[in-house]
């Protein structure tokens, strides 16, 4: 069942993003930024963890899950070391994804070349 819910919840989160694209003038960059900040807020008020437990990757793969990861990380770090954790927790938790993007990005630039879209 976990696969079905991952598909349905993940797909539904993407549909919400599509509605923003089609009905507003928001650019993709703004939607991505909004999703991460919204993920932090949803996680902070305690709504995202139940969804993540229920839908697995369906909740963690969309960028809302990236926000959830930041919020969870900051919470754990504050639990461990107090106020300084507010600085370190978020990026520590998200470091794997950010580092992977940068590393694969530079490697891709090493082997890749800009191509025409037709």
């Amino acid at each position: 069942m976990s696969y079905v819910w991952a598909f349905v919840v993940g797909g539904a989160i993407c549909v919400v993003g599509q509605l923003f694209i089609d009905y507003t003038k928001l650019s993709p960059a703004r939607i991505l930024t909004g999703y991460v900040v919204a993920g932090v807020i949803l996680s902070a008020v305690g709504l995202y963890k139940p969804l993540a437990d229920f839908a697995g990757a369906g909740a963690s793969v969309p960028l809302l899950g990236f926000g959830h990861l930041l919020a969870q990380g900051v919470q754990n770090a504050v639990d461990e070391c107090g106020l300084p954790g507010a600085f370190t927790g978020g990026l520590t938790a998200a470091s794997g994804g950010i580092a992977a993007s940068l590393i694969f990005g530079v490697l891709a630039a090493l082997v890749g070349k800009s191509k025409d879209q037709n």
């Binding site: 694209i21 800009s114 191509k115 025409d116 879209q117 037709n118």
Partner: protein, 338 residues
């Protein structure tokens, strides 16, 4: 030369003596495929040694110039002055083309209106006796424009239905003083900037329509003509949305356009080529002018037309600062071949 309103009428019309159009792969798959003098399937020109899209656009321009001068059968040293421009920042595609050609050069920026602007200036120079042979040149390159104005080419994004596709194309015209064989330039009307508070960067046709309507109205009132006096009226790059708006506006003004065609809708098949509302870019109207309009005038299939290229005059910076998009349209009146 007489001036009526904003329109400059030539008593001894200069002529477009030769022209050439160059294009890329998507353009070679469109309805005007056979109209191009040169097409490439590799718009990067990798085999020709180009290392980036900006160089590739320059090379495309150079192909158009070479073919145009070959048709006119004159060496480039005989060209008195060139008016050229493109969409790259600081018009570098034209600058580097001119570095190779060594012709006296005045750089022009008119966004997608550049073809009419350069052709108009060339005609004025030739008619005024300031030059015997004048080159008017422009281009756009999808990839160079995309990476400069929008997003990297590998970036995944969905285009909105009102967006237009920047053509990979270049057009060159050689204008000669009165008395040479070719297509006569009868009049030129330089437009005034119009801004009707359109902010949507994905709806350029809508942003530019008021400029097109305004220049047309000024031209008709100055010359006492109406749309029926022409075999065809061509606008540059309004696309489907801008075209619909122009028809609506001109009907409201009491001068309905039923012989109008838009270059953005002629260059591509908007139903099957995935270009949303049609083509755009300075090269789009340039290619349609050099590949279709001038040859039809030369062959006697058309006898009197208006060529009206429109440009959107914002920049990436003013757009991000929340400014609306100003538009401009320049009109060149062309006659049957002499």
């Amino acid at each position: 030369m007489t001036r009526r309103g904003d329109t400059l009428l030539f008593d001894a019309p200069p002529t477009v003596a030769a022209w050439a159009a160059a294009g890329g792969k998507k353009e070679s798959e469109g309805p005007l495929a056979s109209a191009f003098d040169f097409v490439t399937q590799d718009a990067a020109f990798g085999e020709q040694g180009c290392e980036n899209w900006e160089q590739a656009e320059s090379l495309l321009q150079r192909k158009a110039v070479e073919l145009c001068l070959r048709k006119a059968d004159i060496p480039r040293s005989k060209v008195d002055i060139a008016f050229a421009g493109d969409l790259q920042a600081q018009c570098t595609a034209s600058n580097y083309t001119m570095r190779e050609l060594g012709i006296p050069f005045a750089g022009i920026y008119g966004a997608c209106s550049t073809m009419a602007e350069t052709l108009g200036l060339a005609a004025v120079f030739a008619a005024g006796g300031m030059a015997e042979r004048v080159l008017a040149l422009t281009s756009s390159h999808f990839c160079a424009a995309e990476r400069q104005f929008r997003t990297p080419l590998e970036y995944g994004a969905k285009r909105t239905p009102t967006a237009q596709w920047t053509a990979t194309a270049a057009g060159a015209c050689l204008v000669r003083a009165h008395g040479s064989a070719g297509v006569p330039v009868l009049s030129v009307t330089f437009g005034r900037v119009q801004d009707f508070a359109v902010h949507d960067i994905n709806n350029m046709g809508a942003a530019m329509m008021p400029a097109a309507a305004s220049t047309l109205l000024r031209y008709f009132s100055a010359t006492g003509t109406s749309p029926q006096d022409f075999d065809a009226i061509f606008t540059g790059d309004l696309g489907e949305v801008g075209t619909a708006l122009l028809h609506e506006q001109m009907a409201k003004e009491g001068l309905p356009l039923d012989n109008h065609k838009d270059c953005g809708c002629l260059l591509y098949d908007t139903n099957s080529q995935n270009v949303q509302a049609g083509g755009s870019g300075a090269g789009c109207s340039a290619a349609v002018l050099c590949g279709k309009i001038l040859p039809m005038l030369a062959a006697g299939q058309l006898r009197r037309v208006l060529f009206l290229a429109t440009g959107a005059l914002m920049s990436q910076t003013t757009f991000l600062q929340g400014e609306s998009i100003p538009g401009i349209a320049h009109c060149v009146e062309l006659g049957g071949a002499v």
